[in-house]
């Protein structure tokens, strides 16, 4: 399933502040996006895609936002562009994010996504998109599964 939302989806909408103070990630997934789309947490299934417009994840630095999405089963977040802290946080916790600029993807469209290559094909309308290439350090962090694993392997950053 492909869930599609608009521009400037802030982190309060992704996970309200009242739920962030916890280490229990399953509670996060229960409330993810509840003020934007109360049905989302009931409908989302492992491997689903979340697609948004501009500036996805603006606002707070709460890493609980990408964690809640990852825990809900979202495989990749695709957006025109992202707010910077959300983008970094997502990579750091091993949630793939693809920045593709202006797109024509609608709710329920069938997508084929090659996360590694950053290539997206919208099977429903035939359009395809190439995501902006990340710096190598981010590719490496994502390949490791997140910053925790990356630093366990490398001890420090390699640019």
């Amino acid at each position: 399933m492909t869930f599609v939302y608009g521009d400037n989806i802030d982190t309060d909408r992704i996970i309200p502040g009242k739920y962030t103070k916890t280490l229990d990630m399953s509670t996060l997934a229960d409330h993810v996006l509840e003020d934007l789309d109360p049905e989302f947490s009931k409908k989302v299934k492992p491997g689903d895609y979340l697609v948004a417009g501009k500036n996805f994840g603006c606002g707070s630095s709460r890493e609980q936002a990408p964690l809640a999405l990852k825990k809900s089963g979202i495989a990749v977040v695709i957006a025109e562009d992202f707010a910077r802290i959300f983008y970094r946080n997502a990579i750091n916790i091993g949630l793939p994010v693809l920045e593709i600029g202006k797109h024509f993807i609608n709710r329920g469209d069938q997508l084929s996504v090659d996360i590694k290559e950053g290539f997206i094909k919208n099977e429903t309308n035939g359009e395809s998109y190439q995501a902006v290439k990340m710096p190598q350090v981010m590719i490496d962090i994502l390949d490791s599964g997140g910053l925790v694993e990356y630093l366990k392997e490398n001890g420090t950053y390699k640019l």
């Binding site: 103070k21 500036n55 606002g59 950053y157």
Partner: protein
């Protein structure tokens, strides 16, 4: 070089320019009770044994203080235990908001690179420092290694000429600028604020300005040091004359009026006249944006000898214990309490929607905070208007959005 390029060059030891990827040593790191527990967990998972420098790592309990439930009480307990184990400073509940105490206690100074696990970390740009918000895992990594990888940001210059009118504050100016640049107008970039309007600003007002760089998506925002007065000597970092800016905005702000940011985004900004008369239920002054002494004094100047409208509630969360004491000693607190305000524990208070004043359905809040996203204060069915402290006080007085010039 821009100010950001100079500060980062000084830290890595070679000249850097916008777009370069660097591994940068930091002068300090900070996490709160929203971001700290996950950071501690990540620090352990990474194999962290000892923080890179005990004197440079700080934890602050401010987002949900005192703890409203056992879950949060236990997270606080976990943070205290970590601070004790590592021998690092932890600011207890009621000491104040992280950004306020970092500046008051001089954990961040001009020219520093500071990493905070809170999106309003750019506030320290008021001090001519490079300060950047991150999430918990980045914070854990920085706490362990003393370094962070960064892309040197491009810079945007905002030049404001003219002096602000009487009754128009730094908050009105930054709301206006957020409205002009929009919520994503500075994404990934550093903003440099320069011009006459900033030169006679107090440190507190400069913090209000730099604070809302977060509401433009900026990585950091630095107020030009001209006119900056601190209790200690410091070296100023100014941009070179040939510094390269992605964009330069120039505004004559001498005629700027009080501003309002209407629901549900901080960049939905206009002159107060557009919203004057909107009835309010609840007024709030506090936060890292506007909870400082001058903000409480601005409210007291409006409310002296008066009483807020019946049926309106008015909460004030001083930015720190020291702010609370100063406001007590100079009589500000007495004026505010006699006018009908309730004073709550210094900390983030109701701004983060966790406790201490969640609005009811369809209620209207006027707040001196920096965010009015849907659900921000804990109820998605309420409406939050952002304004300067004087406007919040005037609105509490009249029970409707009111410019301080029209308070009666």
């Amino acid at each position: 070089m821009t100010i950001a390029e100079k500060i980062l060059s000084n830290h890595v030891g070679y000249p850097v320019k916008a777009g370069d990827l660097i591994i940068c040593p930091v002068d300090g790191v900070m996490a709160t009770d929203t971001t700290g527990p996950l950071a501690i967990q990540a620090f352990r998972e990474m194999g962290g044994k000892q923080v890179f420098d005990k004197s440079k790592c700080v934890l602050v309990l401010d987002h949900a203080v005192p703890p409203p439930n056992e879950r949060i009480a236990n997270l606080h307990k976990m943070m205290r235990a970590f601070a004790k184990e590592q021998g690092i400073k932890l600011f207890e509940i009621g000491e104040g908001i992280c950004h306020q105490v970092m500046v008051e206690h001089e954990f961040v100074k001009p020219g520093d690179v500071f990493i905070g696990a809170d999106s309003h970390t750019p506030t320290y740009g008021a001090l001519n420092a490079f300060a950047c918000g991150v999430g918990s895992t980045d914070l854990a990594a920085t706490m362990m290694t003393g370094q962070i990888w960064l892309k040197v940001p491009e810079s945007i210059k905002i030049v404001c000429s003219g002096k602000l009118q009487e009754g128009v504050s730094a908050k009105d100016l930054i709301l206006f600028l957020v409205g002009q640049l929009t919520i994503s107008g500075a994404t990934y970039q550093s903003i440099e604020f320069a011009g006459e309007a900033f030169e006679d600003m107090t440190l507190a007002s400069r913090m209000t300005i730099a604070n809302m760089v977060a509401e433009m998506g900026g990585k950091t925002g630095i107020v030009h040091p001209k006119g900056l007065l601190l209790d200690y000597d410091f070296e100023v970092i100014e941009p070179d004359e040939n510094a390269v800016y992605l964009q330069t905005f120039e505004f004559d702000v001498s005629g700027l009026e009080a501003q309002i940011s209407a629901p549900e985004s901080p960049d939905n900004v206009g002159n107060i006249s557009q919203w004057e008369g909107t009835e309010i239920d609840y007024a709030f002054i506090g936060t890292c944006c506007n909870g400082r002494l001058e903000d409480l004094q601005a409210a007291a100047a409006v409310l002296k000898g008066k009483r807020i409208k019946e049926g309106v509630r008015f909460l004030i969360a001083p930015a720190s214990k020291s702010t609370l004491l100063d406001a007590m000693n100079d009589g500000t607190l007495q004026i505010l309490i006699e006018a009908g305000a309730s004073i709550i524990t210094p900390g983030c208070g109701p701004c983060v929607g966790t406790h201490q004043g969640v609005p009811g359905n369809d209620e209207v809040v006027i707040s001196a905070a920096n965010r009015n996203f849907k659900g921000r204060m804990g109820n998605p069915n309420s409406n939050i208007y952002l304004a300067a402290p004087a406007t919040v006080a005037a609105s509490a007085l009249n029970g409707k959005i009111t410019s301080s010039a029209n308070a009666s």
